[in-house]
Amino acid sequence: MAGAVALVLLGRAPRRPRRWAPLAATLLVAVALAVELWAGGTLGTYLTGALVQDRFALFAKAAVLLAAGLAIAVTDWSDEGAPAIGMAMILLAALGVMIVASATDFVGLWAGLELAGAAGVVLVSVRRADLGLRLLVAGGVASALVLIGLAFVYATTGAADLSTIRRVAGSASATLPLAIPVFLLIGGLAVRAGLPPFQFARLPVGLGASPLGAGIVIGLVAAAALTVAFKISAALVPLPAVFSPYLMVVAAVAMVGGGAAALATRSPRARLAYLAAGQVGWVAAGLATHYRIGLGASLFLLGAFAVAATAGPAVMAGADAGEFALAGMGLLRPARAAGIAVVFLSLAGVPPLAGFFGEFAVASAVAQSGGFWLLALGLLGAVMSMAAAVGTLRAIYLQSPPDESRRAAGARLPVLTRLSTGGAVALFAVIAGCGVFANPIISLADQGAEALGLR
């Protein structure tokens, strides 16, 4: 938060931030991540119990900080209209997800979700005010649905505290007054995350926003919505009938719709957004299993998703002009190309990257819960996603770079800096390493699910 405020003030200063600002912001996030990993293992409550530090919060916060840090590092800052605002907004969006991860009641969930969404609106508006307005309206619809849902859950259970709701749900039965608000709540979260068929705001924003703005909307805002879904699912786990069927439908539509749309579109940014939507569907499928292994697998996949979807648009830089903007990237910017390749492959669930490991773990949980129809639909979406990823890899590695004189403005090559090259290499290492060395990470995710009180 302090970093974000400092960066906003820096942006207002007469002397604009220089080249060191992105490096400083990356280091700030790296320090925050180190502190989180070092001290976050200790359980504790803050603000008179409004926020809690447990293994779930530790995992989610670490993943979001990693995603934000990598996104800042790989961003081509010469392409961002207001670098200081950009850095501040991604930090605020990450803060929003962290608040959600630590929240113990509806207020915290609501505040974190809105903070992440608002940060996205601000950054998108810097480049395209019309898209910012569109995102604001869509966010308003999502907020209204989420608010109504939360209010009615509160009215039905008599509590806004998640642990109390869980206690009440343990002694109650599934009723329509509880099922309807949960339906609205999940619908609101789906709109907020921009899942198919609610991508009316997310797709144009994904195409028109600055790379970092697109990263916030596609990655961090969706991660915030998913983290809320984790908390709500865990609170209502004694009554799976009120949320599990909705999540299954959302997951099925997102997985198949995301894969099909990714295959159909030619724009890399839109393709990335749809692949991300497909992976959100996998996370939702894991949540629908409503037991610990499923939620643990989903949490692991959420981490992989957050990193790939947040840093993905940033590492693609000026690829909003179309697929030809990526042509020959493997030759011209090999490190950045490797980063883009692993982002697409991980979001498509291709082995042996982090996304595959997460989706495999979710698939095993879905199979154990008997949801074979959901698994079959997910695999259908995964095959389409894989084909879509091949299309992008072709542009990166197999097509010749376009003539420099004919490069459109949107297809200009990202500026080569040590930070962005290092960030792209780190992104590659994180996504590949999370797969090969998945054991400790997935164990931590499992502990995170256990911290939500699941057995």
Partner: protein
Amino acid sequence: MILAGIALASPTPAAVPGAGIFTSPLILSLSIWVPVAVAIGMNFIPNPRGRYDTLMKQIAFFTNLGIVFILFIAYNQFQTFLPGMQFEEKLPWLPSIGATYHLGVDGAGMTMMVLSGIIGITAVLASWGVRERVRSYFCLLLLTQAAVNGAIAAHDMFVLVLFWGAAIIPAALLTLGWGGPRREAATWRLVAYWGLGTAALLIATMTAYAASGGGSFDMDVLLKATLTPRVQLAVGVALIIAAATRLPLFPLHGWVRDVYSDAPLGVSVVIAGSASRLGAFLLLRALVASNADASRLLAPLIAILAALTIGYAALVALRSVDLRSAAAHLAMVPGAITAFGFAALTPLSIAGSVLSLFTGGLAAALIVATAWTLSDRAQTRSLQLLSGLAPRMPILTWVFVIAALGLLGVPLMASFPAETMILFGSFKTQPVGAFAIVAGLVLTAVALAVLVHRVLFGEPNHDAPAVSDASLGETWYLGVMAGALLWVGLFPGGPKLPGTEQPIFDPGLVNVMSAGLSDIASPYVPPNPAATQ
């Protein structure tokens, strides 16, 4: 008697001198991860304007040579009298879901690894003519080979799914980037069919996992769990779909024509030679060796698919007007014969199928590579133009004839004992299928005879473009495959010192593949009436 001896290999055959002395716990991992490491490392070598393209080729060649050397050590050190897995490696990977990094090979696995090694080096030699984006090409080729080796060595279903799926992307990119005029169609068909196969494999794995209580993905646990007949049937059908997309079997063969005709030669060799054999290997490992009840239940289905595949492939080859397309369809025949051997479910037919994994891979790769090279040298693929080439292409004529004979399984070829064992072993349990397979083989023989007669020994076509014979490089890669087919055909038990039964330097593929075979075949040994009285 000889065939029966092979099928029911004695548990204590003569060991090769020195077997078992060197047992590195990392042999299998090296064959998987060395190509991956080299592929990644190649990206760090500066290559301005393709200046070091030859170096890239040499790196890929020597990497494969190194892997062949490692595999040769493994092959020589393989203890043919041990029934279980050898060179095992086991590490926890995702303990929360029961996934382990478990590798190991038995006789059949070692046979596949040898095949993969030979095919790997052949593919690099066949790719020597690549001129564009050389580094990317050889990186992707090495990654494909690594994925194939990983799928062969996998002894955990999680690892198998991982490598099975990982082979798709590099193979697709190779086809898309370096293929012929129909490369787009070839790529998307490859991704669609192989993707469907991966999805089917994953569904089979997950069904078995869920039904067995979700404790482990280890093949020893997962595939041998007690499942209800309904679950066994579901798992078996999904496995057959996965195998049929990869092998391929009719009607899931849609990628064959385009990929074998339009993928670059080295890639066609890898896919026809080793990657597609994974389908049959899956049938062996996950169905025949693990679940006798489901195997018996689904054997007729596999037999029908195999018979249809051979008949269809031969008929299409007969009617084809494109040499590469004809060869692509003929390359489906060995896989179908292998699958039929597994459907017959007798010790003799299973042994024949295991040997056929090796011989079929070589024969399929050889026919595809020969057709590819011949059409390249003749500057046309059209069978209406290709005619009477034998006098002008003596080397390619010899290789083409060897490929045809290898495909048909005539004596002196390695495929002869394999096909004979399959057919002899199957007449009791699958008599109708065996007749159908024989009829299909007769059709295949007709198709090959017509093809050989027309292309090589017919009237020369003076309107056809100028032709030239195979170059030295082309002779090498074709010769390696033809030589391997002949070597195993001549010395199935390895070369022996005169007057002794002791094999020297080569323990004999038949001895190696027999390791563990009696365990696999034991549920299918017919009851001995004398023993029951």
